[in-house]
Symmetry: C2
Subunit: 277 residues, 2 copies
């Protein structure tokens, strides 16, 4: 991992001890797929970051400065993953956010995740997502639920976990959104009470004319096809969920082609190569 | 602030970039009152930390090493606040906690907070606490709700905020628990769906034979006396909540004397001095 930290517009070696990211998870992040040194979905990621910053009252750094620093991390023209972490200044004890502070931000470069193959299985997680409309949809840094959900799946030896909210609605995968094909239409769970409004999800809703709605566990298990989405992996078809299995479905292949049309990292050849490797 | 960081048993200058505390709030903390270089409630704080670590599957450092480092931060025999922050090792992307890792921990020394005087007012916070039984009671580092609640109170120019859960039960103050005197008995909200099981709260439940139960907003507003508690300030009588005002109540004075009996930092003389200063 190659990481660079900043405060305001200035690179720094370290953030202060007791900063609010490490104290309270008081921040936001974006995880972006980089293709040949570029971040094709940068505008969507930045827009989501800005919306989250408004909800959390976080100061935003200068987009041009962040973008220039991001591109310079990939000046070899490589592929990979770019993570942006954003917090606010101020240290010491106490939850009160400072009225004015410079943003703390970090960029890090990571390899693309290992290819998963075309055999992603999943389970229903035991831990539920709490309902918090005040920052539903936001990709914030309070992620203990996801940490415990991921630990559950690792214990069970299962690739992915699907998460319900406290009331039993299906919300998402642990680190991705969910699309289910029901009666010929793509549905995706609403994320207005919990969950993250994924950038890839946003593009797919548009491309597939998918419906954001309440989704039940029975609808997922009865669906004709199911896939997970995120901005790093694109579309991951679900092959097994407990005892339910799905064969390849042409609607997923079609969705992948549409996605490849708007992000070269998900181009069809690349997707095939990923699945074979 | 004087802060020292450690990994395992070893002091370090910094934690790795992208550590899980700053990435996900994947950790716990304790905030302790120090009296003349000692931490009278150390065993209670450590017990709560250990319980939280079990729930989050966090590795615990060696208690003797942490205690020695804590005491050395106050080797001038001073009073103050000691904060312990605990996370786990592992960096990079992905929620999966490493199967084995060394604990990351930090100790910091802070001044006692400014005296509040005997005129603490409060409001009902707009933001609600989400219900998450998987780590209710635990003093974890996912604290965005408290950050936003505190910002609300600062906007409103009010000292403290009382928080309801999503279903409308009263849970706590922003950084403290709540005790209400109803029909001659002290009640305190249960924290089995959200909220923090405060160390001071634990001692007070015992001292006052208080009942942990569901508490409504109407019960708080109709109570004969109300106070907030935390391990740094002890007992803070509530004087106003919106249009409701409470005169001093002998049951609160009695509770303060009981508390002073088990923590010299809250000794009655000290409390009087704090209120006068």
């Amino acid at each position: 991992m190659n990481a660079r930290r900043f405060i305001g517009n200035d690179p720094v070696d370290a953030w202060p001890a007791g900063n609010r990211l490490e104290a309270y998870g008081d921040g936001l992040f974006e995880t972006m797929r980089v293709h040949r040194g570029n971040v094709p979905w940068w505008p969507s990621h930045w827009a989501r970051l800005a919306l989250g910053a408004e909800k959390l009252r976080l100061p935003l750094p200068d987009e041009a400065v962040v973008h220039a620093a991001a591109v310079s991390l990939f000046d070899d023209g490589g592929d990979g993953v770019l993570k942006l972490l954003l917090g606010r200044g101020g240290t010491g004890r106490g939850y009160a956010p400072p009225a004015r502070s410079l943003p703390l931000w970090m960029l890090s470069r990571h390899d693309l995740p290992p290819a998963r193959g075309a055999d992603t299985d999943a389970r229903w997680c035991d831990i539920r997502l709490a309902m918090q409309p005040a920052f539903a949809g936001v990709k914030h840094c309070n992620r203990l639920e996801q940490v415990l959900a991921r630990a559950e799946c690792d214990d069970a030896g299962v690739d992915e976990g699907l998460m319900l909210d406290i009331e039993g609605h299906v919300i998402s995968a642990i680190a991705g959104n969910l699309f289910v094909l029901v009666d010929g239409r793509w549905l995706t769970p609403a994320v207005d009470h919990c969950g993250v409004a994924g950038v890839c999800r946003g593009h797919l809703i548009h491309l597939l004319q998918a419906v954001e709605t309440s989704v039940s566990a029975a609808q997922v298990e009865g669906a004709d096809a199911v896939f997970l989405s995120n901005a790093v992996r694109g579309i991951l078809p679900l092959v097994r969920l407990g005892s339910r299995a799905w064969p390849p479905h042409p609607a997923i292949a079609a969705a992948r082609q549409l996605l490849a049309g708007i992000h070269p990292g998900f181009a069809f050849d690349a997707a095939l190569k990923t699945e074979r490797s």
